[in-house]
């Protein structure tokens, strides 16, 4: 611990060093005096022989082991003192940095949680999932590819899960969880009033055990709970327990009615554990054993249906398991399972069953829909934020350079007095790092606020019925990231000034001239401004492209008219009060009651309405057409509607008639198809009067086509894809299918989830009146949401909106910083050239000429910046092409616009110093020389 002792006794050491050298000096003088030289002359000679005493001392200190720490402490103190003496500079630098670091950290907060985080379970590295695609929520049939190609399996039926679990030795434990969401109505036994809505998820009994999670309260599910005939139990998530039940301990062990059936809540999952699925819809509030599914769904249950793939599988592998071998084993098990269902397969499925594949993938992060949905956007934002940070760095580097130039004389004196260059460079870097660390701390506050804002912008549409497992509060990795970024930026923007310091010439100080010498330093400043201009242009043009893309998305032709329309989301089945056959009457009544509200011109219901995020579909067969080949795509979406649907939503009929009151249980089964369906299956033929039905071919006669309606964009994705084929069938007709999965869909679809209301001219209190009317029809009806249709569409583009807004914000900050940078460099240049300008004016240059001269120089920098920025912006456009809708990466108009914007900002930034230069008084300028 010698260095520590030396550090603590620093003052004594310093005094000793001084005393030792002074002794030497005096001895030498005395020797000279003895040899006959007069004392004053002896002193002078000795001083010359000695050279720089401070330099010797510094060398001695460096030889001592404590030097690094001792000088570091000294330098830190010195740095803080220097920063404190320049509050304006420090404040500007810290604020700029706080913005840059804050923006980057805010985005990283989300990147870390969405893209990097593992599940909060024990040993997430041992978890592997079967499948590698982020699929949702149900797939029908023995293939997971709509067009009959062999596919990569990611979802499985229960039977296959049981088979894998029993036979795969590589897994210590294999769990299954429902890939989709289960809408629940929960009510404590013995209470009345409307039930709570909740999201449920079916899991296998060993789900929690496989993940290695233990209960917060009570106990979690075990295999014994997941047996047919076992008493129905469920586990609540910590989030739901806290948010919906106020952490009430009596929840555990109590009886609840879940969708009308009695369940006991046996426990609460631990805090922080939100399940194995990360999505921004339907995070599970309640986990229930798989085997309770038939109890809730009766004839529509999927549990024993081998044609329905609805489970995600995740397992904990044994330590020595080789993933490749595991995958091979699972693949052969899948083939074995498929081979047992040949009789049940369609010809297309039979053609490819041996080629079906399956892959295992690391499961430590669970099944992240967020990762799939948000990665691209987040990466884009991360890049943008880094650009802003770079612009900020350039600004501070510029500030430091200007400061360094101003302090040049001081630096030169310090070099002359014996300060080592290494220590000067270290000092300069230390100053930058101190600045960036203070900026980083301020940046954390910015990051926290910004992350909250981003979460609000990105996920506000989800907040009504669900929540998103992403938090704004910083975690340890985020703090480390911010610290790392702060250090890194400190070094980045500190390098130029430090380099400059290391080249300070002591002679400059002796010369005493405060004149601009050597263009090199000035050049560094200009290069920074050029870089800033280029980066700002890229940011602005990216923002403009994303903004244009968002506008195009929101204002595209959806094929229906959202104006004056409202969307109601309900669930009539949850309480189990409505028998299937009563549903038609229920919706009849709802329609009548809502139509009576003043201002309402139309009401109609559907299994799902456009842009609600739902999509049902299957392969179809057209009567009289040959069986499609294995490669033919014969997929169509479908929904059930009540009469008047097309008028209510504002879609035009192209041929035939719409569905009306006469299409009921007593008449032939009809369907209205959309234009894309007509083109896809009938080409130029007249589709009216033709028959079709869901595959297999024996159902081909199920529906008679009575009309063609225009295409509506129904799904919330694929806006660049051609319109999807779709058909509409009446709520009041029920077909009968032999295939259990079709039959299940047929019944299930009669539970209409959406009501569309057409009430133009914003009638007062429409939302309250709708809710009131619905409660009057049935107080047990679960109402999730009533919102204007335009808001529904906006909600679809929340993510794009968030990205475009943030990019605009980043672009604006970048532009502002670049303008400040240009202003700084230009006014510094003007200050340096004051005497030159004075001379020019003295010999006849007028104010205009001086302004032009200053502006010319500023604009050269901006022009070079544009020269680099424009190609870069075009390149960035191509990189972002996948995020753009209806905006070409090469967009001259848009580029011209951003160039003008940047140019105007630069003009303002340069005119101020130019005018100041022009007001130089020649006499004054010359006299100060």
């Amino acid at each position: 611990m010698g260095w520590l002792r030396r550090l603590l006794s620093r003052e004594r050491l310093e005094a000793d060093l001084d005393k030792e050298l002074r002794f030497h000096f005096e001895f030498q003088v005395a020797d000279k005096v003895r040899s006959g030289i007069p004392e004053s002359e002896a002193r002078r000679l000795t001083r010359i022989e000695f050279g720089g005493i401070e330099q010797i001392k510094e060398d001695c200190r460096e030889r001592r082991g404590s030097m690094w720490l001792e000088s570091l402490l000294q330098d830190v103190r010195y740095t803080l003192r220097r920063l404190g003496k320049a509050p304006g500079f420090t404040l500007t630098a810290v604020l700029t940095l706080a913005l840059g670091i804050g923006a980057t950290t805010a985005i990283f907060t989300l990147v870390q949680q969405v893209m990097l985080q593992s599940l909060p379970v024990s040993r997430p590295d041992q978890l592997w999932r079967i499948g590698d695609q982020p699929r949702c929520c149900n797939w029908d049939g023995y293939s997971q590819n709509g067009d009959g190609e062999p596919s990569d399996w990611s979802l499985f039926p229960w039977e296959a899960y049981k088979l894998f679990r029993a036979n795969t030795t590589g897994f210590q434990d294999l769990a299954a969880l429902q890939a989709g969401n289960l809408s629940l109505a929960v009510r404590r036994a013995g209470t009345s009033g409307p039930p709570d809505t909740a999201n449920g998820q079916y899991v296998s009994g060993n789900f929690f055990q496989t993940l290695g999670v233990s209960a917060w309260r009570g106990r979690l599910l075990i295999d014994a709970d997941d047996q047919e005939g076992a008493p129905p139990v469920a586990v609540m998530s910590f989030h739901a327990w806290q948010e919906k039940y106020g952490s009430d301990p009596s929840v555990v062990g109590s009886a609840y009615q879940i969708n009308g059936r009695a369940f006991t809540i046996i426990g609460v999952a631990p805090a922080g554990f939100v399940g194995a699925k990360m999505v921004n819809w339907g995070m599970p509030d309640i986990w229930m054993p798989m085997t309770t599914e038939p109890m809730l769904f009766g004839t529509t249950a999927r549990l024993k249906n081998t044609r329905v793939d609805w489970l995600d599988l995740i397992g904990r592998v044994r330590p020595e398991t080789n993933p490749k071998a595991l995958q091979a084993q699972l693949q052969s098990e899948l083939h074995g399972w498929l081979a047992g269902h040949l009789a049940d397969m369609s010809p297309q499925e039979k053609a490819v069953w041996q080629k079906q594949t399956l892959r295992v993938s690391p499961g430590g992060a669970g099944f992240s829909g967020l990762r799939r949905d948000y990665s691209e956007g987040l990466v884009l934002l991360m890049v943008t934020a880094c650009c802003v940070l770079l612009v900020a760095c350039a600004n501070i580097a510029n500030l430091l350079l200007a400061r360094g130039l101003r302090n040049r004389q001081q630096t030169a004196v310090r070099v002359a007095l014996g300060a080592s260059r290494g220590r000067l460079v270290k000092n300069a870097l230390l100053e930058s790092i101190a600045l960036s660390l203070i900026g980083g701390i301020a940046g954390m506050a910015v990051a926290w606020a910004a992350a909250r804002l981003i979460l609000y912008l990105a996920f506000r549409s989800a907040s009504q019925t669900s929540w998103t497992p992403v938090q704004a509060s910083p975690s340890t990795p985020v703090l480390l990231f911010a610290l790392g970024v702060a250090m890194l930026t400190g070094v980045i923007f500190g390098i130029a000034p430090a380099w400059m310091t290391s080249h300070a010439e002591p002679l400059d100080a002796l010369r005493g001239a405060n004149r601009e010498v050597g263009g090199g330093r000035h050049w560094a400043q200009k290069a920074l401004v050029i870089a800033q201009a280029a980066v700002s242009l890229v940011l602005l043009s990216a923002a403009a492209m994303l903004g244009g893309s968002l506008h195009n998305l929101e204002h595209q032709k959806f094929g229906f008219d959202p104006d004056g329309r409202y969307l109601v989301s309900i669930n009539s089945l949850l309480q189990g009060n409505h028998k299937q056959e009563q549903l038609v009457l229920l919706f009849r009544e709802i329609q009548d009651r809502l139509s009576a509200i003043p201002g309402v011109r139309g009401v109609s219901s559907a299994t799902y309405a456009p842009m609600t995020g739902t999509q049902w579909g299957h392969d179809i067969r057209v009567q009289g057409k040959p069986e499609p080949g294995p490669k033919d795509e014969v997929f169509a979406d479908w929904t059930r509607i009540t009469p008047g649907f097309f008028d209510t939503i504002g879609a035009r009929m192209l041929a035939g008639r719409a569905i009306n009151e006469d299409d009921n249980g007593n008449t032939r089964h009809v369907a209205v198809i959309n234009d894309a369906f007509a083109k896809k299956f009938f080409g130029n033929q007249n589709p009216i009067g033709q028959h079709f039905g869901p595959a297999p071919v024996r159902n081909a006669g199920t529906y008679e086509i009575v009309g063609v309606v225009q295409n509506m964009h129904y799904v919330t994705w694929g806006f660049r894809d051609p319109a999807r084929a779709m058909y509409y069938i009446p709520e009041a007709q029920t077909a009968h299918f032999d295939q259990p999965d079709l039959q299940s869909d047929e019944l299930w679809s009669q539970n209409l989830y959406n009501i569309v209301i057409w009430a133009p001219g914003h009638p007062a209190n429409i939302l309250t009146q709708v809710k009131k009317a619905l409660a009057e029809v049935d107080p047990n009806l679960v109402i999730y949401d009533v919102q204007p249709y335009s808001r529904v569409i906006q909600g679809t583009f929340d993510q794009q909106n968030m990205i475009a807004n943030l990019t605009w914000l980043f672009g604006a900050v970048g532009l502002l910083l670049a303008a400040v940078g240009l202003y700084g460099v230009t006014s510094y240049g003007v200050e340096q050239r004051r005497s030159e300008i004075g001379v020019r004016m003295a010999v006849g240059a007028d104010r205009g000429a001086v302004v032009a001269m200053v502006l010319r120089e500023a604009f050269w920098q901006v022009a070079i910046g544009l020269g680099i920025g424009i190609p870069a912006a075009i390149g960035a456009g191509y990189l972002m092409a996948s995020q753009l809708f209806g905006v070409a990466p090469w967009n001259p108009l848009l580029l011209a616009g951003t160039t003008v914007l940047l140019g105007s900002a630069a003009l303002v930034a340069a005119v101020i110093p130019a005018r100041k230069a022009a007001s130089t008084d020649p006499m004054h300028a010359l006299r100060s020389e």
Binding site: D16, E20, F23, F27, Q28, G51, C60, R63, R64, G65
Partner: protein
């Protein structure tokens, strides 16, 4: 600072060796070390303060030298350096090294090079 023809630069590390040798003769302060080296070398070597003191401090840090303040011949307190036992061993080894090295170097430089 000025160099005359009969003075020359010391090879790297040699100064340490010279200092240790001088110090090995008994406790001595910095100024006397410089004087002694100059004297012994018959003015061929003049050790600058800028090299001497950093070297002394380095040797002290490496625990080859120890130091003590005591009155000097003029009565003023001076910092006297002494060789530690570690320094003694080090000096012995380094001196042997040096002798071997100079023998080998002169063997080559002054030899007849018949072997080639």
């Amino acid at each position: 600072m000025k160099k005359t023809d009969d003075r020359f630069d010391l090879p790297q590390g040699t100064l340490d060796l010279l200092i240790m040798r001088v110090v090995s003769l008994g406790p001595i302060h910095g100024y006397a070390i410089a004087q002694r080296i100059q004297q012994i070398s018959r003015d061929a070597l003049q050790v600058q303060q800028g090299s001497l003191y950093p070297a002394l401090h380095r040797l002290e840090y490496k625990k080859l030298l120890s130091s003590r303040w005591k009155p000097s011949e003029t009565g003023r307190e001076a910092k006297f350096y002494e060789l530690t036992s570690k320094g003694r061993t080090h000096l012995k080894a380094e001196t042997e090294n040096w002798t071997r090295l100079t023998d080998v170097v002169s063997l080559i430089l002054e030899g007849t090079l018949e072997g080639i």
